[in-house]
């Protein structure tokens, strides 16, 4: 068949497909065609795929081929679009998806917690016993800042005394931006062969352990430990989870097994993303607690009890949530 005859025969279908695609590509509320019309899309798309293949094999003009290729491409994009996120997916993610993914990848979690805790405990122990070791971890100005923040005479422990006019809200915003940013960077560092993740975990462990040891040695344990205990359950666990996610990426790149490195990375990244997002939510809650609860004047007994409760809740959530319905993933 000649090209013009081919075009005349099939142009109605091409115009219909073009109209359908034009409508589908608009945002949902601006669409004008009824649902039955849109139901013609799969059949039309397959027919135009057939026409495109014919046009190519019969060597019709390049302009016709380009026009049909454009229709096929747009149809492919509309038809094979993946389902959007919905509230339900978010809920199932929080209640079962995230804990299950964490348990499935538990070995990365343990490795990340070792990378975080071991330096923290070591450096903390050394800083507790030797007064000058803290200055190898932080410089003088930072050490005096930290001491000022947790001075028992400070009205709001955990906040710098000079910036006294900060409100809880502002610290909430600051903690969100700072902590979740660190979590995301710990995750992203995994793609650099794990170097970024490991360095960030070690660095955070060393700094936090050093500060803890130093302040305990100074006798600030009435201000420091109640402050950090409240949000510590959520924040420390979340940082370790972000580290675990980064280590998953690193493992995929360094030891891809039977797959290519790109394939292994892609597969692991989907799980790792779940871990990061769950950890980000935990850090959000930790920021809330840190801003509105940790610095308040509540007696230390109450703070410790709440902290213990939070630790129990976090552990119970991560260990038991979603564990009952097996095989329904």
């Amino acid at each position: 068949m000649r090209q013009l005859g081919f075009e005349d025969q099939n142009r109605p279908q091409w115009d219909e497909l073009k109209a359908l695609l034009g409508d589908l590509e608009r945002p949902r509320r601006k669409r004008s065609l009824a649902a039955e019309n849109l139901g013609h899309l799969p059949r039309l798309y397959r027919q135009v795929c057939n026409h495109y293949a014919l046009a190519r094999s019969r060597r019709y003009s390049p302009a016709l081929e380009a026009e049909l290729h454009d229709l096929v491409l747009r149809g492919h994009r509309c038809l094979y679009r993946q389902g959007g996120a919905s509230l339900w997916r978010l809920i199932t993610f929080i209640t079962t998806g995230f804990p299950r993914t964490l348990r499935r990848n538990a070995r990365y979690f343990w490795l990340a917690s070792a990378l975080f805790l071991v330096p923290a405990l070591l450096v903390g122990g050394y800083c507790y016993s030797k007064p000058e070791l803290i200055y190898s971890v932080l410089d003088e100005e930072q050490v005096s800042d930290v001491e000022g923040m947790y001075d028992p005479l400070n009205r709001k422990p955990g906040r710098s005394p000079e910036r006294g006019s900060e409100t809880d809200f502002m610290m909430f915003g600051y903690y969100i931006a700072n902590n979740i940013g660190i979590g995301f960077r710990t995750f992203a560092g995994g793609v650099l062969f794990g170097v970024g993740t490991v360095l960030l975990l070690l660095f955070n462990g060393v700094v936090l352990g050093g500060i803890a040891g130093h302040l305990t040695r100074l006798g600030y344990h009435e201000t420091f430990w109640p402050f950090v205990s409240g949000h510590g359950a959520l924040e420390l666990t979340a940082i370790v989870i972000c580290g675990a996610a980064g280590l998953m990426l690193a493992h995929a790149i360094l030891a891809p097994g039977q797959l290519t490195r790109l394939e292994a990375l892609r597969k692991k990244a989907a799980d790792a993303l779940e871990l990061v997002l769950g950890a980000a939510l935990m850090l959000l809650m930790a920021a809330f607690i840190e801003a509105f609860w940790s610095s308040s004047g509540v007696p230390t007994g109450a703070k410790y009890s709440i902290a213990a409760l939070l630790w129990l809740l976090v552990i119970a959530y991560l260990v038991f949530a979603g564990a009952l319905r097996r095989g329904s993933r």
Partner: protein, 225 residues
């Protein structure tokens, strides 16, 4: 052959062609997005200064969200942030489908690693080392940045009485004739004549007459007698 065209075979057995965008275009798109973000930050800083502590909190949280999630928001809806749209590129999966939430989130979170040591150093290295110009975030998410191509509006073949071309033309040569006829609407008459003169042995004519004769051949190929 060096080519930025990648093809993917769909389940229907068709090969879809996509042209991948290189680092320069993507850098321009990023610069435009950066300018837009800087403008938003400026507006926020000025307005939120009036609201004290609460305003600062809103500002900090907004900066955080914009910094990490500004691209995600646009990519999931249309596949392109305003900067990318301005440069005519968009983000798709490896197989040509539009990006999903998880792919967009992965590629934008790993952006933090691409940005090191400064201004996308590692990202640029990754793009240059990879066949598909993927930066680290694209590799982790399985996405590509491709040009958004819309073919120009089709022009009808110039009308002429069909005359069969002499001799047997190969299929590719017939196709070239058709392509020439369809293009004459956007070529100047002098240029069309110049091109038609290349085939003066075939048409036995020169200049505008040659062009008309080629149109006649093309019409024969397109519609028969």
């Amino acid at each position: 052959m060096l080519d930025t065209s990648r093809s993917y075979e769909t389940p229907e057995g068709i090969r879809l062609e996509m042209h991948i965008a290189g680092p320069v275009v993507r850098a321009w798109a990023w610069a435009i997005d950066f300018a837009i973000r800087a403008g938003i930050y400026l507006v926020f800083s000025i307005t939120m200064g009036f609201f004290g502590g609460l305003g600062m909190a809103v500002m900090l949280i907004s900066f955080f969200l914009i910094e990490w999630f500004y691209p995600v928001l646009f990519e999931v809806r249309t596949g392109a942030t305003p900067g990318k749209k301005a440069m005519g590129i968009q983000v798709v999966h490896d197989n040509g489908t539009p990006v999903s939430w998880s792919s967009s989130l992965i590629r934008n979170l790993v952006r933090a690693a691409d940005f090191l040591p400064f201004l996308y150093g590692f990202g640029l290295l990754a793009m240059l080392a990879n066949r598909d110009f993927k930066r680290l975030g694209d590799m982790a998410a399985g996405t590509l940045v491709v040009y958004l191509e819309t073919p120009p509006a089709r022009q009808a073949l110039p009308a002429a009485d069909p005359i069969p071309p002499p001799g047997d033309l190969y299929v590719e040569e017939q196709r070239t004739l058709l392509a020439f006829s369809e293009r004459t609407s956007i070529l100047t008459p002098d240029r069309s004549a110049e091109l038609a003169d290349i085939l003066s042995e075939l048409t036995d004519k020169q200049g505008a007459e040659g062009v008309k004769r080629l149109h006649a051949y093309a019409n024969y190929l397109a519609q028969g007698r």
